[in-house]
Assembly symmetry: C2
Homo-oligomer: 239 residues x 2
């Protein structure tokens, strides 16, 4: 009797498995008219601040919730809950990005259990702070948002192209830093036009918003865009 050798190509099989799971998750949400938004960017790029401002400005009647991803702590979920919104905190230990399985578990905790359950209209996923790995993993969201803050510098699209290629939207956050200068010049020199041009070179379809949670710049336009996407998602589900 001869033995059998089964081959498992870990990398590809894990990747394909996540992709299939993400596509099924996205299809299931779209069929119910639920919009899920994946918020990505470096640590400290302003994801949580922009998220809290967005929740505050959403048209009344939209039921929104948040899935927070971090290596450890409940800092961000606490902030979301303190602001009056439901949140689930995923703690990954050392894992560097969320994947579709983790987000599925988060959705279940939020009450998305049966295929017809629709406890929320809009779910934000605040991914691990990581400009590299999160851009390479599909969590099943219909809308992928990259955040880039002024103090990070304007060379980031050149150095981290994968994120800018894979995002649907780019939020240029902390635009108010432009107003500050110290000895030797601007506090956070940032050529926003060069960033826009480089991002569009990598990804011609990318939508770009410039925002500041301090001055309020761009927040209404940004929130209107999210609300409009949710409306389209609902109309699509009704078709």
């Amino acid at each position: 009797m001869s033995g059998t050798t089964r081959i498992i190509d870990i990398g590809e099989s894990l990747f394909d498995d996540n992709k299939r799971r993400a596509e099924a998750l996205r299809a299931g949400l779209s069929a119910r008219g639920v919009l899920m938004v994946d918020l990505m960017g470096s640590p400290g790029s302003g994801k949580t601040s922009l998220l809290l401002e967005t929740l505050r400005r959403l048209p009344a009647g939209i039921r929104a919730a948040v899935i927070e991803g971090d290596l450890d702590s409940t800092v961000d979920a606490d902030a979301v809950q303190d602001a009056g919104w439901d949140a689930v905190q995923i703690r990954t230990g050392g894992y560097c990005h969320l994947d579709a399985a983790m987000v599925s578990a988060g959705l279940e905790k939020l009450g998305f259990q049966g295929p017809a359950d629709r406890p929320y209209d809009l779910v934000f996923v605040e991914n691990i702070g990581n400009l590299v790995c999160t851009g390479q993993s599909d969590v099943g969201a219909q809308l992928r948002v990259a955040h880039l803050s002024r103090p990070e510098g304007d060379d980031k699209p050149a150095k981290y192209p994968v994120m800018f290629r894979n995002a649907h939207v780019l939020a240029l956050t902390k635009s108010d830093y432009d107003a500050f200068a110290g000895p030797g010049g601007p506090l956070a020199p940032f050529d926003a036009d060069a960033v826009r041009a480089r991002a569009r070179f990598l990804n011609p379809e990318i939508r770009i918003f410039q925002t500041s949670c301090r001055t309020g710049e761009g927040l209404d336009e940004w929130t209107a865009f999210i609300a409009e996407r949710l409306r389209s998602c609902r109309l699509g589900a009704g078709r």
Copy 2:
């Protein structure tokens, strides 16, 4: 005749392989009195700026070179070379951190070929901008430095503990941001004492420096520390 099944545990075996390679690399550098320093932190945390200031302030006669890691571009290697220092740029495509094999290849390009070659005394590795993955991979350096900038926020040790556990040194960069305030309060609120306490809770041995490349705060102290480490490394090699 029965078949044979060979089992390869990819994760562990890759991990062990890198660890062995990193330890051999470190031992080889230490035996020659060469100090290698791994610079880690988020994108935009100020690694390149602090590196350039350090190179400029090093005591005369130290032969230093830089291995730059990025997903794409030669932005940082260009900056190092423009400042008059030798650099190698490693472009990883999408890979999220450097490992010992990549750094070995960089050292070879710098002229570390035979076991007695000593073209430089001090090699800085500027790792991929990533507060998560770089802290989990040993590149073979004797000194691991985590960078955390003011605008990233003071909650980072709680949210990204792995980096702060594994670094020997923490550089609190962009300290000059403290002097700026906008409508509604400080531009970049940051409780440095809380960060120090949290970092020391995670890692009692960690050395902490506070730096600003704009005002010059902490740069002489920091550079003296690096020079002293290099001196110890040389003395150790002579034993």
